[in-house]
């Protein structure tokens, strides 16, 4: 007989096998997810979950698909949180010192409580990347925030109403478009293709007889 544990889904008690993830335990209990379930592999941020172990004062934050159930776990799903996303034209938005002040001025109201960092299931230094954004250090903000999955639990905990994932997304897009070094080899190849340099060659290749293509494939040189 497998070991069972008691959990509380939105306050209601269920007995489920030990070792299941929170997501699977909810399904075992009879739920069919519509919200609060996405990639089931830790990449999409759909299954943000807050829990508390009975008798413990500390709230914990996790992804339901990546966290095992524990005895006396009180579980609250957070499938949606009203975050604020500003719209902008990335072609017109430059990585200037002032862009954050214009789009996300609330980041300057950060009181330094670090609740965002404590809430991050990815273990990112969220408050630190907000500080980089405040200072216009977009390269650093982009690097440190890169593994953000936009689950939004940081925003749910923020007393200043900051929408951290949207701030870092803007920083990353500014970095990718304007700050990261340009790739000369890529632009050159695109120009060659648009110039028609490969048009005749690709037609000729694709129209070769099947046997010849097979020969070419089986004897092609493979880069070490």
């Amino acid at each position: 007989m497998e070991k069972m544990v008691n959990i509380y889904i939105a306050g209601k008690q269920y007995t489920v096998p030990d070792g299941l993830t929170i997501m699977n335990a909810m399904e075992y209990a009879g739920y069919k997810h519509i919200r609060g379930c996405g990639c089931r592999a830790g990449f999409c941020g759909a299954c943000a979950t807050i829990y508390r172990i009975k008798g413990d004062t500390e709230l914990k934050f996790c992804l339901a698909c990546q966290t095992k159930v524990q005895e006396n776990m009180y579980i609250a799903s957070l499938p949606f949180f009203p975050t604020q996303k500003k719209t902008y034209d990335i072609g017109e938005t430059k990585p200037s010192q002032t862009v954050m002040m214009e789009l996300y001025p609330e980041i300057y109201s950060c009181i330094g409580c670090n609740a965002c960092t404590k809430a991050c299931p990815q273990g990112l230094p969220v408050m630190q990347y907000i500080a980089y954004a405040q200072r216009g250090e977009y390269a650093k903000c982009a690097e440190v925030s890169f593994d953000c999955i936009a689950c939004g639990m940081c925003s749910a905990r923020c007393p200043a109403g900051i929408t951290h994932p949207m701030v870092s997304l803007l920083a990353r897009r500014l970095y990718g478009k304007y700050i990261a070094p340009e790739s000369g080899h890529l632009d050159k190849r695109v120009d060659e293709i648009l110039n028609g340099d490969y048009d005749a060659l690709i037609m000729e290749l694709s129209e070769k007889p099947a046997d010849e293509l097979r020969e070419m494939y089986n004897h092609r040189e493979i880069e070490k």
Partner: protein
Amino acid sequence: MAAFEIKEEAGVFTQEMLDSIKKVEATRPSRIGAELRRMSAEEKEDVLKRFHPDYREDGFSVLEAGPNKGEKVPSELADLLQGKSRVLDKKPDLGAPDYDTDVLIIGGGGAGASAAIESVNGGARTMIVTKLRIGDANTMMAEGGIQAADKPNDSPLIHYLDALGGGHFYNKPELLRKLVMEAPEAIQWLNGLGVMFDKDADGTMITTHGGGTSRKRMHACADYSGAEIMRVLRDEVINRGIEIVDFTAAIELILDDKGQCAGAVLRNMETGEIRTARAKAVIIATGGAGRLHYQGFPTSNHYGATADGLILGYRAGAKLLYADTIQYHPTGVAYPAQMLGALVTEKVRSCGAQLVNVDGVAFMNPLETRDVTAASIIRECKERGKGVPTPIGSAIWLDTPMIDEIGGKGTIEKRIPGMLRMYSKFGMDMRKTPILIYPTLHYQNGGLDVTDRSMTNIPGLFVAGEAAGGVHGRNRLMGNSLLDVIVFGRNAGKFASAYVPEVSLGAPTLSHVDRYQEELDRAGVVSKVESPLLLPSYTHGNPRFADTVKWGHADL
């Protein structure tokens, strides 16, 4: 960044696993730098025939109705293709559509988002419906990278040949030409939207091999490649003010009395409310089918990957191509059970990790094509008995500690942080101990048949991304799927928006639904299930639900 610290849990490995790890460690020094032999064409053929799940006849059924009548498809898919329409008994009023648009895009993944951006660029009114949230898609989970021949030693011709051979020469040439010729521009487009590709200090893209590539052309964004691309595309769609109707599934296509596609019937996933959308063109971008768990395999796919678009298209008369070819990714998580089937990106092998059996022997070159690698892993476990026992079945080691030994300390943390994090949550440190893998249901190689304008045989019905078939032949290479969703998502958006001014819609109808049902009736097919499925059902072995979930019950 501070070194990523992992608290390794005692007792995560069984004694048998620990004994085997010792053997893996013992052979590791001699395996580093050793060149592993590639298989001959004959050897590949043999292992595929004997061990690839596509060759298991009992996993397939022959269709008895519709455009592909007489052809075989996975049995679970056949049940849905020959399922009962969700509007058969109660047809909605098509006279007063709730939404009226030019281009209706079904699906909010990479292909749908790319299509939406180009459709708007083309001047069409554009709307996305998606049964979950925008970005809830396999694109978000693509870890390894995206191919494009943009290095001096590479060319679209070499890319073409790699993908053609990988696809066993079944790829549609007009689609494959487009894929490889537009690949560099796709990267440039994403880069221009602000996607953070891995680059050297001088801007040179960091590229690696994938299984079956002859040049290092795999571009990546750490191992969040698809996530990074998807979140930028989602942001761009929102920035452009494109209407997104989320938690709303398309449950049937609407045609007009001239046989043109004219919209879709929609269902609110939470309230069940039925609505209708009128559109001059529809783009199906619904992705794959992993959640149908063909042959009982676990899957790396998103929760919503239930082949809905294939069902809608087929019932309306669109043809399928290569729907009998499925990609099993060689390296799905086999242990711990909580992550069963989750993807371990091919990039782990690109970065140097070898496939090693219970005795510590690297039994194959880890960068053969996916189908050959998956079949060889199954052979190693089933025929040769050299798998590592786990509670669910036998599995193979992926020797991850090699990566830091080859690339230097910190390589794993920098190049595959997502994998490192995933295992760390279950008390495992892949930098120190190898990981256990087994093939997982990963990709639908085939799909709805389209022209190089992404249109099906139904005027006004376009398909892009994994839901379309032909570009990858009968086996897709790593990194050609992210490329596919970008190139053909954009392609569908461009051609759909260009098609809109040419079309004049007739009276809307759902008569095709009745016609198809009549064909099923005549063939004596009794539908086992309503389709499209929309979402799978899981109960994880709870005996109380054993009788209530009759279909889509995919406990493994």
